[in-house]
Amino acid sequence: MRRYVQHSEHILIFECDNVKLLFAVAAEIGAAQGGGTELLNLLRIMVLCLLGSAANLRAQPADVDGEKEIERYRAMINDPMANPGYLAVDRGEVLWAMARGGKNVSLEKCDLGAGPGVLDGVAAHLPRYFADADQVMDLEQRLLHCMRTLQGLDTKDVIARRFGSPGKTSDMEDLVAFIGNKSLGMKYQASLSHPKEREMANIGEAMFYRRSAINDFACATCHGDDGRRIRLQALPDLSKPGATAREVMASWPAYRVSQSQTRTMQHRLWDCYRQMRMPAPDYASEGITALTMYLAKLGDGATINVPSIKR
């Protein structure tokens, strides 16, 4: 299993620049092993590479077809072994159990809301209020908290690598993918019983409508209405609860084909603020958790499907 992960990772680092090369490698493995899962996975990665280049055809007529193609492939690769997001899940599993930090212990006693070490279903209730920190935390904030308090880990490096890039994995993206996946198929149920959770959702809602920076954009500028688009990109309406909001809430973290990385909501909102011409929001800041809490409230009842695949 590890070998497959390492191997596939290596291929992913090549980053689809040379699909021909991948075919050559696949042929070699095929010759050496007479097929097998490794070859199959390579072939799947090649499909994803082609899919990736379809996703990169931005803002051109081909984009319409690109979107359709992605739909087709998305259906095709709705198989855990073919979704590269599962590489992050596997790495996250290792990181969860790895002894680290000044105290040289793993994260296995970290309390994500359902008691120390409980993983099943916890993502279905995050963000939530944690009494020990007297704070509403999303999964990233909670993991950083556990790294600092439980492991005695200096999180500087982890935060520096908060968003992975080809050849440079992110512990946080991997851990979130692993933990999120532990709620696969479960119903998302926003935690809104504590007053601080409700306050967070309300602050997030205010931030959703808050206009700022040189273009006066708010989240609501693009996501305040049904059926709108920027260029050809359809925009989810996140101003009201419903199927659209549920689909959004259920599908992060996601493997982003256009970035060849598994991304979490932290990255998604960071990228939205980039497009809003705001400065980069601080990682694991209160505001990002507030917005996530607002989205969580709208997306209540979603069936969790992570890691999903997005363009």
Binding site: Y209, N215, R229, L232, P281, S285
Partner: protein, 201 residues
């Protein structure tokens, strides 16, 4: 009947949501962008218009709207008539260009107007957004009148001149586009030779 019920629910929504103390929201925002570099800090705080339009969710009261449009009109710096309509070819590039102003941009990146992100313009460009109305045949529909071109310059400079809490960016006031760039975009809309006016698809 169902529709009336639906409307009633919609009207009840803002009342149901507890509005948090704006000062608390601002504190959360400030803390969440605390490490913004010096030159970017001003983007985190709001000016008066942004504040009103945010708190009212772009539905200002009549008095607020009047004040906003009056201030917008006073803010517009119009060039002489001879410089209202520039070069439509440049204008087309500016309308297509969505770069600039993002923290991922290389320093010195010239901002585009990104009009196509929100508007249909020349019919031959099928990759257009729908956040704003179609501007197809914009000049032709107005008989290429200079007065309309002047009003359009003002609209692009500060869209609140005609609609308080418009969601379109204040391209001129916020110095996203220069006067020359705005004139070029106006030409894209108002030059009879521009594909905005000649395209039949």
């Amino acid at each position: 009947m169902v529709r009336i019920f639906f409307l009633a629910c919609l009207l009840a929504l803002p009342a149901l949501a507890q509005t948090p103390d704006p000062a608390r929201v601002e504190a959360v925002v400030a803390a969440s962008f605390a490490s913004a570099p010096a030159g970017w800090k001003s983007r985190v705080t709001q000016d008066a218009l942004q504040e009103i339009c945010s708190l009212t969710r772009n539905q200002p009261s009549a008095a607020q709207a009047e004040a906003i449009t009056a201030a917008a009109k006073a803010s517009v710096v119009l060039p002489p008539d001879s410089a209202i309509i520039g070069d439509w070819r440049n204008g087309e590039k500016i309308a297509q260009n969505g770069q600039g102003g993002q923290f991922s941009d290389a320093p010195g990146t010239v901002s585009g107007g990104n009009c196509y992100a929100c508007h249909q313009m020349a019919l031959s460009e099928i990759s257009y957004g729908t956040l704003g109305p179609s501007l197809s045949k914009y000049g032709k529909l107005r008989d290429f009148e200079l007065a309309d071109a002047r009003a359009t310059f003002a609209k692009i400079f500060n869209p609140h001149v005609t609609l308080a809490c418009s969601t379109m960016p204040r391209f001129g006031l916020n110095k996203v586009l220069t006067a020359q760039q705005i004139a070029d975009v106006v030409a894209f809309l108002f030059d009879p030779a521009s594909p905005v006016n000649t395209d039949t698809k």
